[in-house]
């Protein structure tokens, strides 16, 4: 009988996650102990502090000569280059998203969140909460919990950890989606849909875990890989498990045909939450997908590459085609997000392990995600700023003539659109070039051609927005709200980063190239 050994835990290396998680818990304590008037400020200060400290720990532990790379926490967390990069990106984008959460000047002192999310929309209780200027400062700890889940999800080295992380990441998001201040019924409906479909996909994921365990006898990604390379049984169990795992992950990525929740939830959720989901959820889901498929199922890539390739084509095609006729800005961005998921999957399919001077698939994916993330955070921040007397204006027709009302903001939005479309001199172009070349080297040239065709159609979607903003007669009653720095920082940073990554992609390309080796 083996003696029971005390579990080891690498506190320093895992500090970034722990800091975020601790901050989330402290946020709950603040809700309980701090007077109502001070809660908002305390929460904002807390998350800002948490982001800075977590990022600091990340840099410190990455630069530590010993033990910076390896399996941590008894093999359940894998700390390698991709993890560090993903964590860094998650912390930065999470921080920028939370800045938009904290914006109150745009809504005349109110945040984007409902005063009392639990009360029935239109009921006296809700009105009362509004008059009393209550606000749900719980959104900050919720987002931090979700962020900690994401950070574990991308680093999880066994499937059970991954599942728990998935739920930690998802559950707060379901809640956050239902907390919009305006159009509350739509918001609550979105939250419920998200929850139901999310639960369905989690069930598939869990089932997949069970089947893979049945085949390999382990949750550990490395051991799964060993079992696949030395098969004992027929592979039917493995394939079914693999398919179910893929379904759970593709749902979170927002790939077709598991995308249905995306437009409804993106529209219904409060815009800051949509921005958070569009970037951080996608980042986490893609990160976990790449890790599970490359590390655990890499030996079976001949089986899953055609599957993901098919999904990628359908996702890109549907994303761009349906985006063509959208009339709502948030819905357009939702379909845009779906098509970007398709482009990312193109690189996942490539599965190349880069040689000298060539990016690995993961490197190109991460570059794409960063470029997409900066553009997306700025785009959603701008969506919160375009307003009329009742709140944000989501109809694209309402954005007409924005170029004349506020040339700076419209110009920035145009640059973001060009980046989404992959026009040269923007980060989006370099990203597309990177993922396409990764797939090309992986032998999927037909997929690249399909992706190029899709980006051709996508260009129309984005250019239409630019044309509306600059060349249509201005819409009545729509103005650009006076936002505080909390919104302007993500807008400005996003725009600058988009341009910077397009003009000088070198440093980031070097970084993702240097740190894109997974460990088992």
């Amino acid at each position: 009988m083996n003696p029971i050994t005390a579990p080891t835990f690498e506190w320093l290396q895992l500090a970034p996650v722990l800091v975020v998680l601790l901050a989330a818990c402290l946020g709950i304590v603040i809700e309980a102990l701090v007077p109502r008037a001070l809660r908002f400020v305390s929460q904002v200060a807390l998350f800002a502090l948490a982001a800075v400290v977590a990022f600091g720990f990340l840099v410190v532990s990455w630069n530590e000569p010993k033990n910076s790379i390896g399996l941590m926490a008894m093999g359940s967390i894998s700390l390698d280059g991709p993890t560090y990069l993903m964590w860094g990106a998650l912390i930065i984008f999470g921080f920028l998203s939370l800045l938009i959460f904290a914006e109150r000047r745009l809504g005349n002192g109110n945040s984007s969140f409902a005063a009392s999310a639990a009360s029935v929309p239109g009921s006296p209780a809700e009105t009362e909460a509004g008059v009393a200027r209550h606000e749900h400062t719980e959104v900050f700890p919720l987002a931090l919990f979700s962020l900690s889940g994401m950070m574990v999800f991308v680093a999880a080295n066994d499937l059970l950890t991954a599942f728990v992380a998935l739920e930690v990441m998802s559950l707060p998001l379901y809640l956050l989606s239902g907390m919009a201040r305006r159009r509350r019924l739509l918001s609550q409906e979105a939250a419920l849909k998200y929850f139901l479909l999310g639960a369905l996909s989690s069930a598939f994921f869990l089932f997949g875990i069970a089947l893979v365990y049945g085949y390999t006898g382990s949750f550990d990604l490395g051991r799964i890989n060993d079992a696949i390379t030395n098969p004992v049984y027929g592979a039917g169990l493995l394939y079914t498990g693999m398919a179910f795992l893929a379904i759970g992950l593709l749902f979170k990525i927002g790939a077709v045909p598991f995308h249905n929740w995306v437009p409804d939830v993106y529209v219904g959720a409060p815009t800051p939450v949509t921005g958070f989901m569009a970037i951080c959820t996608k980042l986490a889901a893609v990160g976990a997908t790449v890790r599970i498929f490359y590390v655990a199922l890499g030996a079976e890539r001949w089986s899953w590459q055609p599957l993901l390739a098919t999904v990628a084509v359908v996702t890109m095609a549907l994303g761009v085609v349906v985006a063509l006729t959208q009339t709502d800005m948030k819905r357009l961005l939702a379909y845009s997000s779906i098509s970007h998921a398709g482009f990312i999957l193109v690189a996942v399919v490539g599965a190349t392990s880069g040689s000298l001077g060539q990016l690995t698939s993961f490197g190109s994916i991460l570059f794409y995600l960063v470029a997409y993330g900066f553009a997306t955070i700025a785009a959603f921040a701008i969506v919160t700023m375009v307003r009329d007397s009742t709140g944000e204006v989501h109809a694209i027709s309402g954005w007409a003539g924005l170029g004349r009302k506020n040339p700076l903001l419209a110009g920035i939005f145009a640059v973001l659109m060009l980046s989404f479309a992959g026009i040269p001199l923007t980060g989006g172009f370099i990203g597309k070039w990177a993922v396409f070349s990764a797939a090309w080297r992986g032998g999927y040239s037909w997929l690249v051609l399909a992706a190029v065709a899709a980006s051709l159609v996508a260009a129309y979607v984005y250019l239409r927005v630019i044309v509306t903003m600059f060349f249509a007669p201005p819409a009545e009653g729509v103005t650009v709200g006076r936002a505080s720095g909390l919104t302007w920082v993500p807008v400005g940073l996003g725009a600058l980063a988009t341009a910077w990554l397009g003009l000088f992609p070198g440093p980031l390309l070097d970084l993702v190239d240097a740190a894109s080796i997974f460990i088992r």
Binding site: L192, K193, L196, L197, L200, S201, F204, Y239, T240, M242, A243, F244, A246, I247, F251, V256, P257, F258, N260, W261, P263, D264, W302, S303, W304, P306, L307, T310, V311, L318, V321, V322, A323, L324, T325, Q326, V457, Y460
Partner: protein, 633 residues
């Protein structure tokens, strides 16, 4: 074997050669940028800028004169312009025997014309802008001639093209002026195409575009490439120098103010083509075909220009035809090879003086006649505008080659050299001299002699001093420039252009006598036709095909129209139709298809969570199907 130039690095004053270019360029920018503040003094600023350039050029010239012949080619490196893996282009200047003569001509004649323009443009409300453009021209022209490689030369080449465009169209409210400017620009682009291709060929073949590298590399060229580069350079030269077949723009260019015609379209810019051919002498030396083409172009143009000159009534157009013709002489000389290079430049310089003189004289006449240019409305102006008459007469005698005056030396040398190389070319040149005498005499008679045919209300008067003094100076040089340079220029230019030095003497040889006879015949015929009978007030209708062709610029516009403009328009219309009916239709069709597809597909998004769950379940089945298919395949 022709001796190649040996360059010495710039020291002392030569390091400041760039001042010649920078001063007028800066003044041009200042005049354009600072607006109406400078309206009252702007023109004097411009004059001063050119005088500074002239002073620098003169000092450098004197230094070169004193220098030992081996070290008269000075290179002035400025900066690294283009650095690529394959080529490094350094921007630099080359001050040698050839370029310094040019610089002196440009700045000297340029300064006189600037001063003249102060009077001529006195009443134009956009005078400041005019002077800014003139200064811009001076700067660009100096870049052109002082460049030490073809790429920098091309910068100046385009710069003078721009200045020429701006100045021809200076009175842009006149549609004819605007059209003429556009025409000049477009036709020059055709020539520029030749230039760019020639430069690219040089870069490809020699890895450099500097004169030294190209001239030393030319010896290793295959005949094909020597001929190709030569012909491309000739195309560029034809465009800039208004040689057949790219001659048609020069006559229209007379729409510009007269000082512009004198400076740009007579004395300097249009001779850039000759300069280019002489600079590229090593390349033309490697290809008989290319040099023969230059000779042919020169002969054809000298006759065509003279022909046009005989039948125009517009005084400026007569002079423009004459300019074409005289540049034809220079081209001919340049095409003859080493026997002709020095004479081409010699004629270029003397022509610069006497043609500028006559153009400014014509401007003075127009000034007197309220801007009327029709010589049939002139007559008997010799007594009214005495200074203009006498200075113009000096230019006249110089151009027809009256013994002892400028044109006598320079043109006779070209005719003699032409006979040395080819009898046909010699005969062309000889006949051209006769026609020149004919049309110039006609111009003199119609303008200054005979009866007054002035329109009512016109009261001719002599121009102010600011205009007549430059005329006097130019007339002085029209008289003495030939004698001044005749015994000197060949040896001076020898290292730069590699010519063969000829014996020259004052006493004409047999060809010289023949030339004098032909010229005398031309003058006499003209006197008989125009001096003895009254001039009709309206040009008489003529069935004489020579006259008809001459009046219509030898149908240059019609030929361009038929051969180039109409086919281009036709092709453009065809392309527009294809674009509208085929490409747009296809594009719109695809667009409509996608829009239809989109509105159908978006219906899948029902908003019902149960149908979403169903879609997911179908998706699961699809995933399974794809996996199974993969396993089977």
């Amino acid at each position: 074997m022709i001796t190649l130039e040996t360059l010495v690095p710039a020291t002392g004053l030569f390091s400041y050669a760039w001042l010649m270019i920078v001063v007028p360029a800066v003044v041009a920018a200042v005049l354009l940028l600072f607006g109406s503040i400078l309206d009252r003094i702007g023109h004097w600023l411009a004059v001063a800028a050119v005088l500074v350039s002239f002073t620098v050029a003169a000092i450098l010239f004197v230094q070169l004169l004193g220098a030992d012949p081996e070290s008269r080619a000075v290179s002035v490196p400025l900066f690294e312009w283009i650095t690529t893996g394959m080529w490094n282009v350094k921007a630099g200047l080359l001050v040698d025997q050839l370029s310094i003569l040019f610089a002196m001509l440009i700045t000297g004649v340029g300064a006189l014309i600037h001063i003249y323009s102060v009077g001529y443009m006195a009443h134009d409300e956009r005078r400041r802008r005019f002077f800014a453009y003139l200064n811009l021209f001076i700067a660009a022209m100096l870049i052109l001639v002082l460049a030490d490689n073809y790429l920098v030369l091309f910068v100046g080449w385009e710069g003078v093209g721009l200045a020429s465009y701006l100045l021809i169209g200076f009175w842009q409210y006149k549609p004819s002026a605007a059209a003429a400017a556009k025409k000049a620009f477009v036709m020059n682009r055709v020539g520029d195409l030749g230039m760019t291709m020639a430069i690219m060929s040089m870069l490809a073949l020699f890895g450099s575009s500097s004169f030294t590298d190209v001239n030393s590399g030319a010896a290793h060229l295959t005949p094909f490439w020597a001929t190709t580069i030569g012909l491309l350079l000739l195309l560029g030269a034809c465009g800039k120098s208004a040689q057949v077949p790219l001659q048609a723009w020069l006559l229209d260019a007379m729409e510009g103010p007269t000082p512009v015609s004198a400076l740009i379209h007579a004395a300097t810019m249009v001779t850039a083509g000759v300069y280019l051919v002489v600079r590229s002498h090593e390349i033309f030396g490697m290809s008989d075909a290319a040099s023969t083409a230059v000779v042919v172009v020169g002969c054809v143009t000298l006759l065509a220009g003279a022909w046009i000159g005989t039948s125009k009534d517009d005084i400026k157009k007569v002079l423009a035809g004459s300019t074409m013709s005289q540049i034809g002489y220079m081209m001919l000389a340049a095409g003859l090879g080493p026997v002709g290079y020095a004479f081409a430049i010699f004629h270029l310089l003397t022509h610069g003086f006497f043609k500028a003189n006559m153009f400014l004289g014509a401007g003075s006449v127009m000034h007197a006649m309220d801007d009327d240019v029709n010589m049939r409305h002139y007559g008997a102006l010799a007594k009214v505008t005495r200074i203009t008459f006498w200075t113009f007469a000096m230019g006249y005698l110089a151009i027809i080659g009256f013994p002892g005056l400028a044109g006598y030396f320079s043109k006779d040398h070209i005719i003699e050299a032409a006979f040395e190389v080819s009898t046909l070319a010699g005969v062309c040149a000889l006949v051209g001299a006769g026609i020149t005498a004919f049309y110039m005499t006609r111009l003199m008679l119609m303008t200054f002699f005979g009866e007054k045919r002035w329109r009512p209300g016109v009261h001719p008067h002599e121009s102010p001093l600011v205009m007549t003094v430059p005329l006097i100076i130019l007339a002085f040089f029209s008289v003495i420039a030939g004698a001044l340079m005749n015994w000197w220029i060949q040896e001076w230019l020898e290292p730069a252009v590699g010519n063969h030095v000829h014996e020259v003497s004052l006493v004409p040889g047999p060809i010289g006598w023949a030339t004098l006879a032909v010229v005398a015949a031309g003058v006499a015929l003209s006197w008989w036709l125009f001096g003895t009978k009254p001039i009709p007030d309206v040009a008489p209708a003529s069935a004489n095909p020579f006259t008809v062709a001459g009046r219509n610029d030898l149908f240059g516009d019609a030929i361009n129209d038929t051969l180039v403009v109409q086919p281009t328009l036709l092709a453009a219309r065809g392309l527009v139709a294809t674009d509208d009916k085929l490409i747009d239709a296809a594009a719109n069709g695809v667009g409509t298809m996608f829009a239809g597809l989109s509105s159908q597909t978006r219906r899948l998004q029902t908003g019902q969570v149960r149908s979403y769950a169903l879609t997911m379940t179908i998706g699961v089945l699809l995933v399974g199907a794809v996996l199974i298919l993969t396993q089977l395949g």
